[in-house]
């Protein structure tokens, strides 16, 4: 049996209670909304892009602990990164939460590795990836994220 603490790691709970970069971004030049109709989670991700670089990033909205912590830690991990780097991190993160990752993945993900427990809870993968899909939409200049059927 999987232990609940594998899913609800200390850092995840902490970020869900006190999310970082949790505000509207006045200087944003990209933003998108992500909405999981299944559970009512809804976030807006704001980006201030400087050429290809993420100068600033923030989010707002409401959702479960997993989706909120994921959004919060995403903003921390991506500030200062380029779009290509951000997309590479999402790819690794995605593999991690769907349990398809190779062993090296966790190290490269740094703090984001605390989401590894999600792979034991297939129903919660969508929560962990909501903010990231919303980020993708913001990069693409789409107002709303289209969530894939399969995560």
């Amino acid at each position: 049996m999987s232990d609940l603490r594998d899913l609800y790691q200390e850092q995840i709970l902490e970020h869900s209670k006190a999310p970082r970069n949790f505000r509207e971004l006045g200087t944003a030049n990209h933003q998108a909304e992500g909405n999981n109709p299944l559970c009512g989670d809804r976030f807006t991700v704001y980006l201030q892009m400087d050429g290809d670089a993420i100068r600033d990033i923030s989010f707002q909205g409401a959702g479960c602990a997993i989706s909120k912590a994921s959004a919060s830690m995403m903003t921390q991990a991506l500030k200062g990164k380029t779009r290509a780097e951000a997309e590479q991190i999402f790819e690794r993160f995605h593999k991690l939460v769907t349990g398809k990752g190779a062993n090296g993945e966790e190290e490269e993900l740094g703090k984001l590795a605390v989401f590894s427990g999600v792979s034991e809870y297939p129903a919660r993968v969508k929560c962990a990836t909501l903010a990231w899909h919303t980020l993708e939409a913001a990069f693409e200049g789409q107002p709303e994220a289209v969530l894939p059927d399969e995560d």
Partner: protein, 424 residues
């Protein structure tokens, strides 16, 4: 009551409806209940989403496929006649269960959703025009909102919703005020799936009929829990799903007064719904067959018949009393939990307990309870307008059935304590 008095009472009036349920005996009828989930005994409290099936239903379906399977209404051979008879017997069981005047008023459909769509696409398209109004309530399931919305958009009509109060009860005066000469049909849920509220359907029908407006009742959450008599309610249409009343998925019922059904155009075209066909013109079969195009879910109807007989054998009054006891017990058990708020506190309620807990999102509550073997539903319950009314994104919902016990409610309370531990 003393034991002697109870004995006397049961001897002079041997009504099984007054005896409490023997829950352990009932649980033995449901094979699925006896399993472990994540190493814990299953506590199934998601009955409003779908109910579990007693052996009587599973066996009726198996028996049909093993010994009676044939297409209906078309063969002169033995099996076809036999299957037709079993299918029609199921229809008569539904008629008896709802106390409809005639079995011809019972249309088999896929479920509540299809029943409502059938009415919007036939009666609705024939009677609702530009500038007209359709009146629903603020506690409808999406399946009693969206089909009407589609109709109203097509016709240039207006969909209006009577508001509910902070307890989740319908504001009947507001409802009455919204009825007007433009109102062409009223559609209300009998019992709310998100809040548990039981609507005063008899009164609603009376008010609507004073304006000459017919009423469709969404009975999906009512038929498993309270006695329904469509003649006493005097409603024009009544819809329910088999799978929520211990029957199979894929089968449901639309009851309609014969006068309406006879006058309505057909729903879908195909085999079985016609009397004769030429390339120029078809004439339609009589009701209810006019609304049952194509080969129906024969096994499903037979399974539904078995489910209704199972419920009848226990008695809806006893079931209602048992579930009412569980609801009261659960309400008292969870109300004192600090930070917990019950959503849906109407005076008249069926066995639905929707709640929010501190700042913990219902989705997280659901995952943690699941680890304890407890199945509840979390989310908006296909009732987003209800969530908007209470300004919450979602709730956690425990919903009861005849096989649930007080011990299971205790497990739920312990599960909620676990949620607090994780999120402390």
């Amino acid at each position: 009551m003393t034991t002697a008095a109870r004995k006397l009472g049961s001897e002079s009036c041997p009504s099984p409806d007054t005896e409490p349920l023997d829950v352990e005996k009932i649980r033995a009828d449901f094979p699925i209940l006896h399993q472990q989930i994540h190493g814990k005994p299953l506590v199934y409290l998601d009955n409003a989403a779908t109910s579990q099936k007693p052996r009587a239903v599973i066996e009726a379906i198996t028996r049909y496929y093993e010994s009676s399977n044939a297409n209906i209404h078309r063969g002169v051979h033995f099996l076809s006649e036999h299957a037709t008879e079993e299918h029609e017997e199921a229809r008569r069981t539904v008629q008896r269960f709802l106390n409809a005047r005639s079995a011809n008023e019972i249309v088999f459909v896929r479920g509540t959703t299809e029943a409502i769509n059938l009415v919007t696409q036939t009666y609705g398209r024939a009677h609702v025009g530009a500038g007209d109004e359709v009146l629903i309530t603020g506690m409808e399931h999406h399946s009693d909102i969206v089909p009407w919305q589609l109709l109203c958009n097509e016709k240039g009509a207006k969909l209006r919703a009577a508001p509910i109060d902070d307890n989740g009860a319908l504001l009947l005066e507001e409802f009455a005020r919204l009825l007007n000469p433009r109102t062409k049909i009223v559609a209300v849920t009998h019992v709310s799936n998100a809040l548990g509220t039981i609507n005063p359907v008899r009164k609603i029908v009376e008010l609507a009929h004073q304006h000459g407006v017919p009423v469709l009742v969404d009975g999906a959450q009512a038929v498993p829990h309270i006695r329904v008599d469509v003649q006493a309610l005097d409603c024009d249409f009544y819809a329910f799903s088999g799978h929520k009343i211990y029957g199979p998925t894929g089968i449901g019922v639309l009851y309609g007064k014969a006068s309406h059904l006879n006058a309505m155009p057909p729903y879908q075209g195909g085999g079985d719904m016609i009397a004769s066909v030429t390339f120029e013109k078809s004439t339609y079969n009589k009701v209810p067959y006019k609304f049952e195009a194509g080969t129906p879910d024969i096994a499903g109807a037979i399974g539904l018949g078995a489910a209704l007989r199972y419920v009848e054998s226990i008695g809806l009054d006893r079931i209602a009393a048992h579930e009412h006891d569980l609801l009261e017990y659960a309400t008292q058990a969870i109300s004192p939990i600090p930070g917990l708020r019950i959503v849906g506190t109407a005076k008249e309620k069926a066995g639905v307990l929707s709640f929010v807990f501190d700042t913990v999102h219902p989705h997280d509550i659901g995952t943690i309870l699941d680890q304890e073997g407890i199945a509840i539903r979390t989310g908006h319950h296909c009732s987003q307008p209800v969530m908007q009314r209470f300004d919450i994104p979602a709730t956690a919902r425990a919903s009861f059935a005849l096989y649930n016990t007080r011990e299971e409610v205790d497990a739920l309370v312990r599960g909620i304590e676990k949620v607090r531990e994780v999120f402390a």
